[in-house]
């Protein structure tokens, strides 16, 4: 069924009894051309673009839980392309462009809201660094604007501009950035992929990857063996574990990242805001809750829950930036498991096993990349060569020294 104003009116006249499921809950067939492991945003986007752009529709997406139950449902929903390095800008900008046309393409309301993302700076040096980043973005055709304190004060009068330690000196705004509804992104891709013949298999955990003579031949799952000509991994958070099933070791550590949402408030914050003196990003959801997060806890974890020192750190940053937040109560908080790569940038590449492709290492920047990640992995799987905007995201770049270290932290994943 195509969703439209007319379909809504027609259904409302019939008491909304006629809405069918948006996708089939498929049982696995014995053989597919492509099996994608991981039913999050990236896996489902890959399946959708394989079917819609590359004509490969004999595809299964297999997911150990329900779709969107991992990091796709645990992020802070921010989309942006304000990167510095020439390897990253084209990729994240292609993602931004796909976000801009996503709802029309999928015929699904993903609540993409280009409300702007403002990075605040707190010193002259940081302002210089942001000017450099803004210039790099504009050279690559991405919108960026240095905002003066007065402009920001007019827009966001409630921030602590004269903070003794971290006064606000200006900011770098990307107006095209914003937020999207994370669950709707998953559901939209699932529905559109399903409509093109992709099987979405839930509650189906991969227990092994079968390799014969250096070539992948299928996967073992809790719902039986599935043969496949090609297998693609989109299991960020658990990439090391799944890749180990094919005998691979990855330059990745798994870390827990916590996020928070406050009680619902009246409209207060009209953009995505980032504190430059600590690690804090905050936006207001359409329901009114302030959605915010900070850095990772900093130790290896698969627990999907974190510890109190990180929570205290995030709250301190929030109070330092916006003192009135002290009166707001936190409603929920949660944790997700991040693939922290050794240079802070992702991997979309072949592996040493023929027919096995990997999409991993998203650190905590995976949500905004969902459309481009799906497009690039689909391109790689279908054509066996990297998509031009993701050509730098090679698995062997660590061995060859071609690192993409946006933060300049070196091989210490908990600092990226």
């Amino acid at each position: 069924m195509r969703y439209s104003g007319f379909s809504l009116i027609a259904q409302s006249l019939k008491g909304h009894a006629g809405w069918g499921p948006a996708w089939r809950d498929a049982s696995p067939k014995s053989t597919y051309d492509v099996v994608i492991i991981g039913g999050g945003g990236h896996g489902l986007a890959t399946a959708y673009y394989l079917a819609s752009r590359y004509g490969v529709s004999n595809v299964a997406v297999i997911e150990k839980g329900y779709i969107g139950s991992g990091n796709a449902g645990r992020n802070t929903t921010i989309i942006r392309s304000n990167y510095l390095l020439s390897e990253n800008i084209p990729f994240f900008e292609s993602s931004m462009k796909l976000w801009e046309g996503l709802e029309q393409e999928l015929n699904y309301n993903a609540m993409v809201s280009q409300r702007g993302a403002l990075l605040l700076c707190h010193s002259d040096a940081q302002r210089d660094a942001f000017a450099r980043r803004g210039n790099a973005m504009r050279l690559a055709g991405v919108d960026a604007e240095i905002m003066e304190v007065e402009q920001i004060r007019a827009m966001l009068p409630f921030l602590d501009y004269e903070n003794a330690r971290f006064p606000i000196r200006g900011g770098l705004m990307q107006w095209r950035a914003g937020t999207a509804r994370h669950d709707a992104v998953v559901w939209g891709y699932a529905r559109a992929a399903d409509a093109r013949g992709v099987d979405i298999v839930q509650n189906c955990e991969v227990t092994g990857i079968s390799v014969e003579n250096g070539r992948v031949v299928g996967v073992d799952t809790t719902r039986g063996q599935i043969k496949a000509k090609k297998v693609a991994l989109a299991v960020a958070g658990n990439s090391s574990r799944v890749a180990a099933m094919a005998g691979l070791r990855l330059p990745i550590e798994s870390h827990v990242l916590q996020a928070f949402v406050s009680e619902g408030l009246k409209p207060l914050l009209n953009c995505v805001l980032t504190f430059g003196a600590g690690h804090l990003y905050i936006s207001q959801s359409d329901k009114g809750g302030l959605v915010f997060g900070g850095g990772i806890d900093g130790y290896n974890s698969y627990a999907q829950r974190g510890n109190l020192p990180t929570i205290e750190d995030v709250m301190e940053a929030a109070m330092g930036l916006w003192p009135a937040l002290g009166r707001v109560r936190v409603l929920r908080h949660w944790g997700g498991i991040m693939d922290m790569s050794m240079d802070g940038s992702p991997i979309i590449d072949h592996t040493s096993v023929q027919g096995l492709y990997i999409n991993a290492g998203w650190c905590y920047g995976g949500f905004k990349a969902t459309p481009a990640s799906g497009m690039c992995l689909a391109h790689l799987v279908a054509k066996d060569e990297p998509h031009p905007v993701a050509a730098a995201y090679r698995l062997d770049r660590f061995a060859t020294g071609r690192l993409i270290d946006e933060r300049g932290m070196g091989a210490q994943p908990n600092l990226h």
Binding site: R241, P251, E253, N300, A303, N307, P309, A399, A411
Partner: protein, 91 residues
């Protein structure tokens, strides 16, 4: 999470700094092959379960500690000074 420092007793997580997997050992810089150096710098154990790792007690005794911890439950099985570490304690 609290860590039972062998010198200071049970102390809060905030007193410690994390390095990570304790297993990599630096190859001889003059003799090492490129691939051995790559292994040392970039490849770490990343299990869902017991992991031997190095923590620094920077707000305490400033000793390096070898901690055997479950990455799924955050339960700590053993803590010893790093120089007393027996390799393979997590296995």
């Amino acid at each position: 999470m609290r860590i039972a420092c062998p010198h200071c007793g049970l102390r809060d997580l905030q007193e410690f700094t994390y390095l990570g997997d304790a297993s990599p050992s630096r190859p001889d810089g003059l003799a090492a092959t490129e691939s051995a150096m790559f292994d040392y710098v970039y490849l770490r154990e990343n299990p869902r379960g017991l992991l031997e790792e190095l923590w620094f007690h920077n707000a305490g005794c400033r000793a390096w500690l070898a901690v055997c911890r479950d990455t799924l439950t955050h339960t700590i099985q053993s803590v010893v000074p790093a120089n007393k570490r027996k390799k393979g304690a997590a296995a």
